[in-house]
Amino acid sequence: MRRIVREIAGELVGMFVADGRLALAILAVIAAAWALVRWSGLDPRIGGAVLLAGSLGALLGGIRRAARKSP
């Protein structure tokens, strides 16, 4: 029973953090966009652009990093 619960918990975490660096990059992008919108005094749409461009960049970085690691 404990094994099943552990495996299900692992699966749940893995749903969102399959690649730790990718997850960190996404969270960093969100934090940067949030800080820009809240504190910079700039047009909030600039924060939106950072969020979108950063997410696309995190995706491309994640693909390239995984490809480099593969044999």
Binding site: I4, E7, I8, E11, L12, M15, F16, V17, A18, D19, L22, A23, I26, L27, I30, A33, W34, V37, R38, P44, R45, G47, G48, L51, L52, S55, L56, A58, L59, L60, G62, I63, R64, A66, A67, S70
Partner: protein, 251 residues
Amino acid sequence: MILLDWSSAAPAVGAAFAASLVEVVEAFTIVLAVATLRGWRAAAAGTASALAVLAAGVLLLGPLLERVPLDALQLPIGILLLLFGIGWLRKAALRAAGIVPLHDETAIFARESAELAARGGRRRAGLDWAAAITAFQGVLMEGIEVVFIVIAVGAARGLLVPAGLGALAACALVLIVGIAVRRPLSRVPENTLKFAVGVMLSSFGVFWTGEGIGVPWPGQDLSMLGFVLLFLAAGLAGAAAVRHPAAEAAQ
């Protein structure tokens, strides 16, 4: 009768349907392996128990979510969608590039069957617990992803019921086809579906996260279309840039 605005509901329903189709096909392969090797009784018991646990989770979470204002849901759901969606899109791009092997339901069926066979012969009397637990775990794990996707694409816009119906339609379709063919559904284009769902969920993620932190998206809902095109282009470009020579030769 509540009239549904299909222009805003269709992306949520479509994403829930496609994502659920992928997950239910994967769960079906495990249940089929259990049923073929150890009998339908154990497979049905495991599947029914998992569905009961999932239903209990939905019944507990649903009323709780209804009490939370939509504005408060957008940011956490957006962040989870971004993490989940970009993770799916990355994996689908790597599969399309030949870096990660494609999901092969026939191979998974063979592996599950071998694992079940290694655990010992079929029990003649009483419930085959080992087999039932295998089915339970398979259905529960894939089902949790379905429930998350339905909640994620539905809750932030009050579209839980249409998204849930999209997921149920996928379950019904897999069940009908699965019962008819009684084989792993290996002809379902899982990676193409995963790619499409990854694009949709990532786009939803950017949209909700942006709204949650106070970004007024130009064109509002229409901006989603632009996000979909950008994530699609990025996924395809990423896959093309790292394409494995073997995958290129196969194409």
